[in-house]
């Protein structure tokens, strides 16, 4: 049997194997025939591909809007002549994320590379070494989404490790604090946390010490995500047999050495797929920054359709950002699944 006939045979049993199966296929086709043709007509047949807003009078999509506003959707109000900076930020973040995804690179150098990359991104965005610094309210689009995501995740992880250790420790005071903190954060919606960043934090800081909205949001989101990451790490700590810690203690290692050399490396190996899934959720959650008026990718897309010259092409803008989010998150979830299989294979050996 050749590959082609085998595929054909699979398809035949998969679609028309039994009578019920044939019925299900017919029903699904009926459903698709209701959805797909209008969509195709809107996206392709009736769509406008060139020209300006006046040309987009047909019933279909206006893809020339996307061509005209793509720069704005990706970079929002960032000064166009300095656009190489956010582009470089995206490339830097993509590089460090790719490096972090390769199990061979997991180790100390990567741990040091992260803060350096974040610092470099911060300097680039803020316009260091130019005559005029660029305030964060001009930042926008994809670099903001990726930057806030990377910074908050990277900063939240060490806090989360401490919280998870405290929650599992025998120290009653710290354990109670950790439980209260985690439950408080996990019980609050992220919008509420962002409002705290926007409304309370400026009032709570001493006079003269004020920092901008972006930084405030980053601080609060970091504290918020730390609770979620801590719960995932705690699952890894719980999965570790007690014999590991006992053996380390018997060898004369202290608490911190035990955690650093024995417990955390193994716990992290167990929870990395879970952390990747969490990170996907967090990337999607960064879109909530729009609620407090930060121009992340989604908010930039919305603003692009509010341009008087191109008013109202919201669906086209949303489709573009949906594709960007989907590409990143779908890739990450595939990676997570691959990693899970690989780590499971490693444990069996």
């Amino acid at each position: 049997m050749t590959a082609a006939t085998r595929t054909l045979a699979t398809l035949r049993t998969g679609l028309f194997g039994t009578r019920t199966n044939t019925l299900v296929t017919a029903a699904t086709l009926l459903l698709l025939s209701q959805i797909l043709p209008p969509l195709f007509r809107w996206a392709v047949l009736d769509a406008t591909f060139t020209g300006n807003a006046e040309a987009c009078t047909r019933a279909g999509a206006c893809w020339s809007f996307v061509a005209a506003k793509l720069r704005f959707i990706l970079f929002a109000f960032y000064p166009p002549d300095l656009q190489w900076r956010p582009v470089l930020v995206i490339l830097l973040l993509a590089a460090i994320l790719t490096a972090s995804a390769v199990p061979r690179f997991w180790g100390r150098p990567l741990l040091f590379a992260w803060p350096l990359t974040i610092l470099a991104c911060w300097l680039l965005m803020q316009g260091a070494f130019t005559s005029t610094p660029i305030p964060s309210n001009q930042w926008g689009g994809l670099p903001v989404t990726l930057f806030v995501w990377a910074v908050c995740f990277a900063a939240a992880t060490p806090i989360a490790v401490l919280l998870a250790l405290a929650r599992r420790s025998t120290l009653g005071g710290l354990r109670t604090f950790s439980v209260l903190y985690i439950e408080l954060m996990r019980g609050t919606p992220m919008v509420g946390i962002l409002y705290v960043a926007m409304l309370i934090l400026p009032m709570a800081l001493p006079d003269g010490l004020s920092f901008d909205k972006m930084l405030r949001a980053i601080v609060m989101v970091t504290l918020f995500w730390a609770a979620y990451i801590a719960e995932v790490i705690r699952a890894g700590l719980q999965a570790l047999p007690a014999g590991q810690t006992e053996a380390a203690t018997a060898l004369g290692l202290g608490f911190w050495r035990t955690q650093q050399l024995i417990v955390l490396p193994q716990a992290f190996r167990i929870v990395i797929p879970g952390l990747v899934n969490l990170a996907i959720g967090f990337l999607l959650a960064t879109s909530l920054l729009a609620v407090i008026g930060i121009f992340d990718l989604l908010n930039a897309a919305r603003a692009s359709a509010a341009d008087p010259q191109w008013l109202g092409f919201y669906n086209e803008a949303y489709i573009v950002v949906a594709v960007v989010y989907f590409a990143i998150c779908f890739g990450a979830s595939r990676y997570s699944r691959w990693l899970e299989r690989r780590l499971a294979a490693g444990r069996r050996l």
Binding site: L31, G172, G187, G192, A204, L205, Y314, F326
Partner: protein, 399 residues
């Protein structure tokens, strides 16, 4: 006295620790360090609160919850209780809370129904159907909820005006002024439909509880009790002269009258939440059913059970052990994510709290109310689901 002392000295084994020892044991090692850490946290909190109070004093706002009885000079688009501009802030917040609860409860219910259906469809051996489900789940899971809400909102606004709207199945109108669906109401009775349903539910739960106390709660007695509760309510309603009236929306003049009108914001929010979370629940259901090993199916078939029995008696009880805790956290997430309503203009709790904070300047108090409310909802929902979870887990492991 001396006898007792002798008795105590000959007691074998370690003595029970006193209360001080217990507390000390619970507090654990490194006692002063822990105290110092907690003291630093408390001091930090105190400084923050002090600064906030200072700022409030400087801009002339009196701290405290007194503002709740002040009059709120804004309108609320839709509310379960009557609200006019000029009513108290407390009433405004209550109305926001009811809106949040309404959309969350309906969202959980519909997302569960749709999610279970999609999850089972995804397990189908039909390649086309399972492929379609796969893509639906991937697309919904990998795009932000807020984006989906914006999309549904722009779709809701792009619907035709009531005059041009065509009816789905002859009864549901999708228009730019919202969705019109058929409604059922009670007329002529002493109380409305919601009260009737609530009293039925309370009666049913009470009957089930009594049965359980008498240790005679089985599937059959349970069903009888629930039927009795319904019969009692209906009889009471009938005797009091109430008649259920079904109302279909219909076009009259420039508008649609009759039926229940869901505002575009509510419809978009509900659709967005249901679609997003049905995909998550579908994944959970699939994982739960797949977690039951193939050997279980084979053994059940070997025992001569048919498909329905296998699913009901063998697969579902085991799958529920996986499904329940995960669904619980989905419900909690849905409730929290209903707060995205603020971005599309549905007056939920967060949106009203935001307006309150902006109009009164009492942002700290407003946010305390917000966080406290969500904590209460979350903790009670998770307590409820944990109770159910222990039942499911016990049934799976003991019987």
């Amino acid at each position: 006295m001396s006898d007792r002392r002798v008795f105590r000295t000959v007691m074998p084994g370690p003595s029970r620790p006193g209360i001080v020892e217990k507390v000390r044991g619970w507090w654990g090692g490194w006692p002063l360090g822990q105290l110092a850490f907690l003291a630093v946290i408390a001091a930090l909190g105190a400084v923050f609160v002090h600064n906030v109070l200072d700022t409030m004093a400087r801009i002339g706002i009196l701290p405290g919850f007194g503002f709740l009885s002040g009059s709120a000079n804004f309108e609320i688009g839709e509310s379960a209780i009557a609200f006019r501009a000029g009513d108290t802030y407390l009433r405004a917040i209550l109305s926001g809370l009811l809106n949040t609860l309404k959309v969350s409860l309906l969202g959980c219910l519909l997302a569960t129904i749709l999610g279970v259906a999609i999850g089972i469809a995804g397990l189908s051996r039909n390649l086309l159907l399972s492929g379609l489900v796969r893509w639906f789940i991937e697309i919904t899971r990998n795009t932000p909820l807020l984006l989906q809400l914006f999309f549904w909102m722009s779709l809701a606004k792009a619907l035709p005006a009531p005059r041009q709207a065509s009816a789905l199945f002859g009864t549901i109108f999708l228009t730019s002024r919202g969705v019109y669906i058929p409604s059922v109401s009670l007329e002529g009775g002493p109380f409305g439909l919601a009260a009737a349903l609530a009293s039925t539910a309370i009666l049913a739960v009470a009957l089930l509880f009594i049965l359980r106390l008498c240790r005679s709660l089985t599937r059959r007695t349970g069903a009888v009790a629930i039927t009795l509760a319904f019969a009692a309510t209906f009889a009471a309603l009938f005797l009091s002269g109430a008649r259920p009236v079904a109302e279909l929306p219909a076009l009259s003049g420039f508008n649609i009258r009759g039926g229940l009108n869901l505002s575009p914001e509510f419809a978009a929010l509900l659709t967005g939440l249901v679609i997003k979370f049905s995909a998550l629940i579908a994944e959970i259901v699939r994982a739960g059913i797949q977690s039951v090993g193939g050997g279980q199916w084979e053994a059940a078939r070997a025992l001569g059970l048919h498909e329905g029995q296998i699913i009901r008696l063998v697969v579902l009880p085991q799958a529920l052990r996986v499904i329940t805790p995960l669904t619980t956290s989905s419900y909690l997430d849905l409730t929290k994510d209903s707060s995205l309503a603020v971005a599309i203009g549905f007056p939920d709790l967060v949106s009203i709290i935001n307006t309150t904070a902006n109009t009164t300047g009492q942002s700290m108090e407003a946010l305390i109310i917000l966080i406290g409310t969500f904590l209460t909802i979350n903790l009670s929902l998770s307590a409820l689901m944990n109770a159910y979870n222990t039942r499911v887990a016990l049934r799976g492991s003991t019987r």
